[in-house]
């Protein structure tokens, strides 16, 4: 249900832009957050807030991949299937999750707990293979990690993924180390 409170948040989202129409995408995110997916009621509410036709909102919903137009599971597992993850075994990971959950990609478990989806490059190529649970990142995923993750989620525990997975510090250290070693002696220093 789209409550008055949600509608107020939609109006506030629109107010941050010079033109109300710019609030379209943020409003649809709010509608989806409130109901799990973008329902006809959600679309109606967004059209009212923006001041446009329902058809116009529908044309946006069908263009952008993040909006669901059908109910989805409580935990949406999105496995990145783009090139860097492909090179590091995302297809095996996807197959493993399909088998583990007993569903194919694009489907939801009968108990409504899990939806499994492929997703395009998640900008985590250095930590491939990677997946997201709803919006949380889980990086450098092994089959064991994936199994443990499913168990955690089934028990109602948190993802325990992001933040904190970045190895930025390590890489900066690598550059620093190289910087302090002189010229071609750098390799010897390592």
């Amino acid at each position: 249900m789209i409550t008055d409170e949600v509608k107020d948040r939609m109006r506030a989202a629109c107010a941050r832009f010079p033109e109300r129409r710019s609030g379209m995408l943020p409003c649809l995110h709010l509608a989806q957050e409130a109901e799990g997916y973008v329902t006809p009621e959600g679309i109606q509410a967004v059209a009212e807030v923006i001041g446009c036709k329902v058809d116009e909102v529908e044309s946006i919903v069908t263009f952008y991949a993040m909006y669901f137009t059908k109910p989805v599971g409580k935990h949406i597992i999105k496995v990145c299937t783009s090139i860097s993850c492909y090179l590091r075994g995302c297809d095996d990971l996807m197959a493993h999750l399909e088998q583990r959950l007993g569903i194919k990609r694009g489907e939801t478990t009968p108990d409504g707990q899990f939806t499994l989806l492929p997703i395009e490059c998640l900008a985590a190529c250095g930590m491939a293979p990677v997946l997201q649970v709803n919006s949380e990142f889980v990086e450098n995923v092994t089959m064991e990690h994936a199994d443990a993750l499913i168990e955690r989620l089934k028990r109602g525990e948190s993802v325990e993924g992001h933040p904190g997975e970045w190895e930025a510090a390590e890489h900066t250290a690598a550059v620093r180390e190289a910087a302090t070693a002189t010229g071609t002696d750098r390799k010897k220093a390592e």
Binding site: A65, S82, I83, L87, E120, A168, A169
Partner: protein, 446 residues
């Protein structure tokens, strides 16, 4: 660390202009960021420069766009008309989604204030009073980090009315996408910000004249914006002392694929590819021989191992037959089936084509059909020529660069690995990888 100001000697061979403080705990909070010299560049910009002088300074630094095209940042800024009736805007392109690229997400998550500080300086330089950060919708944590950083900047008086008593006003709005690669294209990004489908616009008019809400608009990549404070802080001369003659300064190289230490490395432009892969990324995983390199995200042509010694700057990579692009270096070892990898990249463009123009919408679809057939071992010899023909019908004939990008890995891999394509046709199987033993059945199931 601030005492290194302007001194090339103490900065050493590998200076960290953008990521200097990235490993400091809590640097994503404004107090810690300021303790390490954060927002000093903004203060310097507001007190010691006129807007036009800042544009000149950035021109002098040689800073070029880090999103892919590599256009001169200061030059781009100077295209804005001196006077305009409509308000002018800045859009910061944080819609990172080029396969193989993961630098902007790191900057937003770990150094959000660097991006905000760059946004404010850039807005001041271009006389903009409303800036937008368009962050990719899937990157929820990056969105949250940017929103908090902007809020903290407002509270500290770095955004809003009369910034640091200078009389300069700036509003900053963080907006999110909703899952569409095409919105990383500048005109599609503006459409999306206006609440529409992310269809690219016809150019000209270019955004500098008619952009967001019809006003003159600057659009810069997130990393470019995050580099601006360093140019102001260290000075254009110091920044330009690094890199090559035409590719100045440092950039973030994202290395992924079959290497031991994938990750982001900030290094001077012109650093040899071999140094990047062997020294910084720790060499090939399992010591396997290198097969091919994608040097700048999946939208750039593949390079063979004989190009390992090229300097990674805009000119040298172009000379070698590819593009520096977004800096996303993807490394493939010898066990990788080239047709399979190219198929996977092509599926991306098919799925992300916005459908506005026919060559791209139809072309990306048929390219995938053909590659699937080849990879599964059912291809015909004429399929290779047909792939080339479709690429030829797309390159330069699509409405926006997405169509061109879709052809890059295909045409280049046919040139470099013709025999491997032929093997799929004659042996009905892959040359290397799991498909080499028997014909793939799983291909195309996604």
């Amino acid at each position: 660390m601030v005492d290194t100001l302007g001194n090339v000697e103490t900065l050493g061979r590998y200076p960290l202009f953008v990521t200097r403080d990235i490993d400091i705990p809590g640097i994503d909070r404004i107090e810690v960021y300021r303790q390490h010299g954060g927002y000093m560049a903004l203060e310097k910009a507001l007190t010691q420069f006129q807007p036009d002088e800042l544009v000149d300074e950035v021109k002098k630094s040689g800073l070029r766009g880090r999103g892919g095209a590599g256009f001169g940042t200061g030059v781009k800024w100077s295209f804005l008309p001196k006077e305009s009736k409509k308000p002018r805007y800045l859009c910061v392109n944080c819609d990172e989604s080029e396969p193989g690229t993961f630098k902007d997400r790191m900057l937003m998550e770990l150094l959000p204030h660097r991006v905000v500080e760059g946004t404010i300086i850039t807005s001041f330089a271009t006389k903009v009073h409303h800036a937008f950060l368009y962050v990719r919708g899937e990157l929820a944590y990056a969105v949250a980090q940017m929103e908090r950083a902007v809020r903290e900047a407002y509270e500290a008086g770095f955004a809003g009315k009369n910034i640091l008593g200078s009389g300069y006003d700036l509003e900053i709005t963080v907006s999110t996408g909703a899952g569409a690669y095409i919105c990383g294209e500048e005109s599609a990004l503006m459409e999306s910000l206006e609440g529409k489908r992310g269809y690219p616009r016809l150019k000209p008019p270019f955004p500098a004249l008619v952009g967001l809400y019809g006003g003159p608009t600057v659009i810069n990549n997130c990393e470019t914006i995050a580099t601006v404070p360093a140019v102001v802080e260290y000075g254009a001369g110091t920044y330009a002392a690094y890199g090559t003659e035409k590719s100045k300064g440092t950039r973030l190289y994202c290395i992924s694929g079959h290497v031991n230490r994938p990750g982001n490395y900030e290094l001077p432009l012109g650093t040899p590819l071999r140094t990047l892969i062997e020294d910084f990324a720790g060499g090939m995983r399992g010591n396997k021989p290198l097969k091919a390199i994608i040097p700048g995200g999946s939208s750039t042509p593949l390079l063979a191992p004989d190009k390992l010694d090229i300097p990674m700057d805009y000119e040298s990579v172009a000379e070698a037959g590819s593009m520096l692009g977004s800096g996303g270096i993807v490394v493939l070892d010898e066990d990788t089936c080239v047709v399979g990898a190219v198929l996977r990249m092509s599926e991306f463009y098919r799925d992300e084509s916005c459908g506005k123009c026919t060559p791209c919408r139809e072309g990306t679809f048929w390219l995938v059909q053909l590659l699937e057939r080849l990879e599964a071992g059912h291809g015909k010899e004429s399929d290779i020529a047909l792939l080339d023909d479709i690429c030829d019908n797309m390159l330069g004939k699509c409405f926006c660069p997405l169509g061109d990008a879709a052809t890059m890995s295909i045409s280049s891999s046919i040139k470099l690995f013709y025999d491997e394509y032929m093997h799929h046709i004659t042996a009905h199987a892959c040359l290397v990888g799991p498909g080499a033993v028997q014909v793939h059945e799983a291909v195309g199931a996604r």
